[in-house]
């Protein structure tokens, strides 16, 4: 019978359906199937890669040198990377309990909470920015906060808050899906063996859902890095303090398009490098954890 032998699994590869299907088919059929899949995948891949390559092709070294090495561009990049990373950590800390709650409990109003989590995805970023500004600014609790010496709007703190607002749904949804996919038997077994809910979560649920958690974290970080509208409105665009890379690209583009393109290329390259390296680190961990 054509089943995938244990030999395949021991190589440490994930059991992808494609491989299983390939194992069932004979040689020529498998090649045709693969070719078809690749051809159908090409349009989207070319559509994503094309503009990026075009962007890079328009940047000459001299333009890059005169515009990207100046301190404003460097500070915008540094601010973007730092705030996105802080936003990610905040989202993980405050988002994991929400994902846990939605995954393991049933309650009235669960649908409402679900929809609430989705809201930042459909809200236009500028609208989100104004909403944050009205709540945390002088028109809302901001005036009270300022009496106690804390100013939120138009500061770097606002940058992080705007990023957390727009990027949190990505992590929460992925984490929830990951937690839900952990078989309940395993969690019950853990409880039977004497582990409390916290220990079960840390030692059983979280490790088993780590691919989903990682995917959610990567998407959250990427979304936070690219955030523009909410940040511009809530935090302003002060170079060195709240002017993130996307905002710098925009303000530069009004008078100097080649420089803006060079900045955009820089952002693409750095983000790409970080994502690739993160995948490598996580990938190894995944392959190790799946091996017998």
């Amino acid at each position: 019978m054509d089943t995938v032998s244990p030999h395949h699994r021991s190589k440490g590869e994930a059991n992808l359906p494609g491989r299983l299907a390939g194992g069932h088919m004979r040689g020529g059929g498998r090649a045709r199937g693969t070719l078809l899949v690749v051809l159908l995948a090409l349009p989207l891949l070319l559509y994503l890669a094309g503009p990026i390559v075009g962007l890079m092709a328009r940047t000459t070294p001299s333009v890059w040198e005169s515009y990207v090495c100046c301190w404003q561009a460097a500070s915008a990049l540094r601010l973007s990377l730092v705030t996105a990373s802080i936003a990610l950590i905040v989202v993980i800390i405050i988002g994991t309990p929400v994902a846990y709650w939605l995954a393991h409990y049933d309650f009235r109003g669960k649908g409402l909470i679900d929809t609430l989590i989705d809201l930042p995805l459909v809200l236009p970023p500028a609208a989100a920015g104004f909403a944050l500004l009205l709540l945390f600014g002088q028109q809302g609790i901001g005036s009270w906060l300022q009496l106690h010496g804390l100013r939120i709007s138009l500061t770097p703190l606002a940058v992080v808050m705007a990023q957390v607002f727009v990027a949190s749904p990505f992590y929460v949804k992925q984490a929830r899906a990951g937690f839900e996919a952990v078989p309940q038997d395993l969690r019950l077994a853990s409880a039977t063996l004497g582990a409390g809910p916290a220990r079960t979560f840390l030692r059983v649920t979280a490790p088993l859902s780590s691919p989903a958690l990682l995917a959610g974290a990567v998407m959250t970080w990427a979304r936070a890095l690219g955030e523009f509208g909410a940040t511009l409105v809530f935090a302003g665009a002060f170079p060195g303090r709240t002017e993130t890379m996307p905002i710098a690209i925009y303000t530069t583009s009004t008078t100097n398009l080649p420089a803006a393109i060079a900045l955009a290329c820089t952002l693409v390259i750095v983000s790409f490098a970080v994502l690739v390296v993160t995948r490598e680190i996580a990938g190894r961990r995944l392959r190790i954890s799946l091996a017998p």
């Binding site: 990207v68 090495c69 100046c70 301190w71 561009a73 460097a74 500070s75 990049l77 540094r78 990377l81 730092v82 990373s85 104004f130 500004l133 009205l134 600014g137 002088q138 028109q139 901001g142 010496g149 804390l150 100013r151 709007s153 138009l154 500061t155 511009l232 409105v233 302003g236 665009a237 002060f238 170079p239 060195g240 303090r241 709240t242 002017e243 925009y250 303000t251 530069t252 583009s253 009004t254 008078t255 100097n256 398009l257 750095v270 490098a273 970080v274 390296v277 993160t278 490598e280 680190i281 190894r284 961990r285």
Partner: protein
């Protein structure tokens, strides 16, 4: 395990390198807006299109006045005004055009008597470099086969100015037949010609300076011209009116005019 560590180090290295690239910032600013400390900190809300000359002017001003620091937030004039009025903060407002300053005056966000003109915006016909379609006047914009772009009237003051000019010349209907798109902002209008999307736009004289290798300008007959300006004024929320006045005076001084002129802006009132 070891190679795992290598990747982690590489990741940190990329982040570190990206963060440390470039020269250090001339000033390191900490604290919340409005905090004074030793230096007076001014907050200016300035239209994005004025970024290059205003940044240079700010650096020259800070050199001449070491006890004053000017923090500038560049953005869309409308958004900046909203931020100013909602947050009741800011010392200086310098929108991209005078109609936003009028709005600011209506909202009582600026002190009317402090309003000054920093630069003039003179509408011109902006064409592709070399003027391949040989457009010499407003009438040529109505020629069949010529594609035209305009800024959106009602949303962008450049659009209102262009509409006013065409109406004065009696060419509004004919030219609008050739308009293939209405841009949502000044820079988008400029980009239409810069990227070759249209043959001509009615834009500001400064457009040519922003992309000298892509754009040529054709003057518009004086009798149809409607000039706008880039104004600056002190906000009513300021806590440092004297320092703010100093900065505005600097922008309109000979040195300030020279900086703006260098960046392609007209600093003397046009003769009409």
């Amino acid at each position: 395990m070891l190679s795992n560590l290598r990747w982690a180090v590489l990741l940190l290295g990329i982040l570190f390198a990206a963060g440390c690239a470039g020269k250090e910032a001339p000033e390191s600013r900490t604290g919340t807006p409005g905090a004074t400390g030793e230096k007076i900190r001014l907050i200016a809300f300035v239209g994005a299109a004025s970024k290059p000359p205003t940044t240079e002017a700010k650096e020259a001003f800070e050199k001449a006045n070491p006890n004053i620091v000017v923090d500038i937030s560049f953005g869309g004039s409308g958004t900046l005004l909203n931020q100013m009025t909602l947050e009741e903060t800011g010392d200086i407002y310098m929108p991209g055009s005078n109609d936003y300053m009028d709005k600011a005056e209506e909202k009582k966000a600026v002190a009317v008597e402090t309003r000054k003109i920093v630069a003039y915006l003179i509408p011109m016909i902006c064409v592709q470099r070399g003027n391949p379609k040989n457009i010499q006047s407003l009438k040529d914009l109505a020629r069949p086969g010529v594609t035209v772009g305009l800024a959106k009237a009602g949303a962008v003051c450049l659009g209102d100015a262009a509409d006013g000019i065409l109406r004065r010349a009696g060419l509004e209907e004919e030219v609008k037949k050739n308009v293939i798109t209405y841009a949502g902002s000044c820079d988008q209008t400029q980009q239409l010609v810069q990227l070759g999307e249209v043959d001509a736009v009615i834009g500001w004289d400064a457009f040519k300076h922003w992309s000298p290798d892509k754009i040529d300008v054709v003057p518009i007959a004086r009798e149809h011209l409607q000039v706008r300006n880039i104004p600056a004024a002190i906000s009513t929320y300021t806590e440092h009116p004297e320092a703010a006045q100093k900065f505005i005076d600097f922008l309109t001084s000979e040195e300030g005019k020279e900086i703006f002129s260098k960046h392609g802006y007209s600093v003397t009132p046009p003769q009409i």
